[in-house]
């Protein structure tokens, strides 16, 4: 019934996809946008790439106003979307490359050099001559990335570049992005809901939910703040008294044979050393709190005073990001 009503009398309402999302990104930075589905990550990327016209506020990238779509700007960035492809489905990827070469007016020798480099980094080799429809998802993504980078863009907008890929291929793509950033000093803005993508690549994260920025700043700093402890997982040879463990850290769980302790980061090493000398331990394991949990804390609004913490944004050295 609802659909029928919508067919006859369609109601429109204004949905604020992003609202007061403000940030500055330095050249060469790698920034990760984190947020659940529908948070406004993609919308923000679309505004930055000039596809959407912001109803209020401004966006400036490389000194250009994106929605004016000046060719000089369009030539300097690229957009890769894990869910959409620009490669011609029925033809080998190299055909799309040639068209992009002409569209971006890439000189012949520069095109050859770039293609050679991308081939070396991504192992494109035989993939380029195969029809795109015959490639696996991972192979296709490699070719998509290459097609998007032929014009050596200074700014990369990557929207879920690893979606649907297996773990090995995810790591491969991630390594490639890091290497590309290191070699060319390109600015990378990445959205993903795979936490690992963002943790591996980006020192700085911007957490968005319901169109608002919940956190903007250094990733490590966030962890320090939300989870200032390490998780110590213990397995004992013989049953131990749980109370005995309280001296080493907060007891998260303990059943006599195994225990999980939360130990302040600064004291973690020392606590573990003491523990090993005083208790018969079979196995000991240090872990960082799962990033998912940390982000969930941010989403739940349980982290006080984070807001749009621009002052927390440190200068990021892109070379260290890989």
């Amino acid at each position: 019934m609802g659909s029928l009503r919508a067919f006859v009398a369609r109601k429109y309402r204004t949905v604020k996809a992003v609202d007061d999302v403000s940030f500055d990104i330095e050249a060469g930075e790698m920034v990760g946008f984190l947020g659940p589905n529908g948070a406004g990550k993609t919308t923000t990327l679309k505004v930055l790439s000039g596809l959407l016209y912001p109803t209020s506020g401004t966006a400036t990238v490389l000194g250009f106003t994106p929605h004016k779509r000046e060719p000089a700007y369009l030539k300097q960035f690229t957009l890769v979307m894990g869910q959409k492809q620009q490669l011609l489905w029925d033809l080998p990827a190299i055909e799309t490359f040639l068209i992009n070469q002409a569209i971006y007016e890439i000189p012949r020798d520069q095109y050859a050099a770039t293609l050679k480099e991308l081939d070396q980094l991504l192992d494109l080799g035989p993939l380029l001559k195969k029809q795109v429809r015959k490639l696996s998802l991972g192979e296709r993504m490699k070719c998509e990335l290459a097609a998007a980078l032929l014009h050596r863009p200074k700014v990369l907008f990557l929207d879920e570049p690893t979606i649907g890929l297996d773990v090995t291929m995810q790591v491969r793509i991630r390594d490639f992005i890091a290497e590309y950033n290191r070699r060319h000093g390109a600015t990378v803005i990445l959205t993903s809901h795979y936490m690992a993508d963002v943790t591996a690549l980006c020192d700085r994260i911007i957490v968005i939910d319901k169109g608002k920025v919940l956190y903007d700043g250094n990733f490590r700093a966030l962890i320090e703040r939300v989870a200032p402890y390490k998780i110590l997982k213990l397995q004992f040879e013989q049953p131990v008294a749980c109370e005995q463990l309280a001296a080493f850290g907060d007891i998260a769980s303990c059943d006599g044979m195994t225990a999980v302790l939360h130990v302040p980061r600064s004291q973690a090493a020392e606590a573990a050393a003491r523990l090993l000398t005083q208790v018969e331990v079979d196995d000991v394991n240090f872990e960082d709190p799962p990033v998912e949990d940390i982000i969930r804390e941010v989403f739940a609004g349980r982290v006080a005073g984070l807001g749009t913490a621009h002052e927390q944004t440190p200068a990021v050295n892109p070379a260290g990001a890989g």
Binding site: T42, K46, S49, R69, K84, D90, A102, I103, Y104, Q131
Partner: protein, 261 residues
């Protein structure tokens, strides 16, 4: 110059795509010629009952039929594939890739694809026209040929602009495949002289959906019956429609909302 190079590259890549699916290509080309034949036969049957249609003889009407087949082929060659693709790209959000490229987006969206089987229709159109000339024992004067060239170009520009306008509607209404079907249904009237129709229909076919400018007037040109005023009107109409459709395209692009990731 750059655009000419791009166009050549597009044509090459489309050719490769056609070659991927040879059977499809042959079937479509055969279908095109078959339809041209059906059109030809239906008009011929029509003339077994009458000697003239709206003041046009059988052979003269064949010239109009030839033009309708020729334009139908042009639509098949260029407009249908690109407009279909635009509708698909708007719906799926891959228009993102067109709009982030540093070339004119209208150029890239409307001239990117080609379906070469349309050339079969176009050849059939030329064949029907030659047949009409042979039956008439007629060879157009150079002046008539020049006028015809202008009128034919105007005709193609008018058809292109109307298709572009239909495509821009997809930015607002997303799925509009039926609209192009509607156009093709109305275009069936293009195989008859516009003078066949009377009253409001004739006015509509001249000024609202200017089918008269697509086939009847170019046919008058090649037959040496065209008035100078019609020629000027055709060029003006083509120029206006092209500018208007290009303006609508720019507006449409601004309101493009893309599909989610």
């Amino acid at each position: 110059m750059r655009y000419v190079r791009l166009l050549a590259l597009f044509l090459k890549s489309n050719l490769l795509m056609e070659l991927e699916y040879r059977a499809n290509f042959v079937a479509q080309a055969a279908l095109g010629v078959l339809w041209a034949g059906v059109t030809f036969v239906s008009v011929t049957v029509f003339f077994t009952q009458t000697d003239a249609l709206g003041g046009w003889t059988y052979e003269q009407t064949l010239v109009i039929v030839a033009l309708s087949v020729l334009i139908e082929g042009g639509i098949q060659l260029l407009l249908q594939p690109n407009v279909d693709k635009i509708i698909q790209m708007v719906r799926e959000g891959t228009m993102d890739f067109v709009l982030t490229k540093p070339v004119n987006s209208q150029f890239l969206a409307t001239l990117r694809y080609a379906r070469y089987s349309g050339l079969a229709d176009m050849s059939a159109g030329v064949a029907i026209m030659l047949l009409a000339f042979i039956r008439l024992g007629y060879a157009p004067e150079p002046i008539a040929l020049a006028q015809f060239a202008v009128m034919l170009a105007a005709s193609f520009v008018i058809v292109y602009s109307i298709w572009l306008l239909m495509a821009t509607l997809s930015f607002w209404f997303v799925k509009i495949d039926n609209l192009t079907e509607l156009f093709r249904a109305l275009f069936d009237t293009a195989r008859f002289p516009v003078t066949t129709f009377s009253g409001l229909v004739r006015i509509a076919l001249t000024f609202v959906l200017p089918i008269a400018f697509m086939t009847t007037f170019p046919a008058e040109a090649v037959l040496g019956k065209l008035g100078g005023a019609t020629l000027i009107a055709a060029v003006a109409l083509a120029g206006f429609l092209f500018a208007f459709s290009a303006w609508c395209w720019r507006r449409a692009v601004l309101s493009y909302s893309s599909a989610s990731s």
